[in-house]
Amino acid sequence: MIPIESINELSFPGAPASAHSAKPSEIEHEVMRLFDRFRDPLLRYALSFGLSLHDAEEVTQEVFLSLFRHLQMGRSRSNLRGWIFRVAHNLALKQRYANKNRCDTMEPSEGVVEKQSDPSPNPEEHLSSAQRRSRLLAVVQALPETDQNCIRLRAEGLRYREIAAVLGISLGTVSTSLTRSIARLIRADGR
């Protein structure tokens, strides 16, 4: 588990205290460290918008190039994780909108379900597990978009205030949204 204290402000050991005094090479190094840490969570988040892997990779690249500019211009370093996800969120929305205009969207549920891999050796367990996962995915995809984004961001480790900043909503809305989503997941699983 990632220690919350170290990640909230993302002041990595060795990171320059002030961007104004940081050389480009130091900033590059810092951006690459952040890439190593957040590339997979960002890709998962971008894919959850129904983007193709190619588009999701491009969004991720653009996030880190923007981060480089952000740091190079000496802008705020507080809560860089929240900043990174906010830029990814905006770019993913923009890409999805562009794809929609080109009538080139893919159906996320089909792509995701088809590519699932299940290590379960038992065919009955395999079927049951696949069905349960498929049902869970259907429940998530039936949630309002803000609820989906909230729960996915929370699953990537973001705190409530970070989620609120990424999505531009209040802390109370984040809390209500997560509670609603979890309750639906519980009901869908017949607990």
Binding site: E28, V31, F68, Q72, R86, I182, D189
Partner: protein
Amino acid sequence: MLIEDLHISDQELLQAADGELPRRRAGVVHSHLAACWNCRARMAEIEGAIADFVRDQRESFDSQLPPSDGSRAFLRAQLAEMADLSEVHSWRWFLRLIRAPHSGAICASALTLVLVCGLILLRTVPRGGDASLAPLGRAALPERDLTPGATRSVAMSEVCSMAHEDVVREVSDSMRQEVFREYGIMNARAGDYEIDYLIAPGLGGAENLQNLWPEPYRSQTWNAHVKDALEERLHQLVCSGDLDLHTAQHEVAADWIAAYKKYFHTDRPLTLHSQIDWVPSSDFAEITRTRIIGDRTIWTNSARFNLL
């Protein structure tokens, strides 16, 4: 009132699990959970739903994620390009400054400062050191893991009977695409990169992925044209008997920029080898503007230079 009458809401249970409750309230919830089996059971359901969701998210998406090596290498190259561009941009800022009214006094002060700094640098930088040039070359060097260099078995007579076109031979389209895939480069445009041999065919280099990489044409200093010049130079030296073929192969694979400096006796590419020229200032300004919008900034791969 019985404790069961005061059950904790789902929202507070979730906030407690997420560590989002104020400390005092968290203490109350914790005490309640210790006493109330109903709320503990509900908390377990919430935790179970979270665990299921996280596991399913990972299983659904992680199987789609490719290894990060290619996209990591591409990002590094892009960042190096951006760092180079920022250096160029600062020079343009300086040029605007000296054209401004009352710039004489400012320039005189700046010049004095530069001279003083230069003297200090001359005293502190070791002789032969090229640390100040290193950043300019990073984008022009291949990723070692992906492109270590590879040779084929070749006779000297074959090497030295090659025509110029074979010495700096271009690779096939299918191989170009494979190299782009290997480096995670998507939508590359014709003018952006040369798919170059690390060890040129004219020096016994093999046409395979270990010996090919996307070399940016747009690098400010150490670009594909400069490397082409080195390849021709090494080929001449090998064929005239002044340089051993294995040595040439080793040096160019280890660090072709260092080899260029060694065999052309210079710290920077010769002007006739750097076939680049500036784009009009209006184009440059457009590129710069698109890159500093802020959070929505998208880096464009627009060429900064025109090939002559």
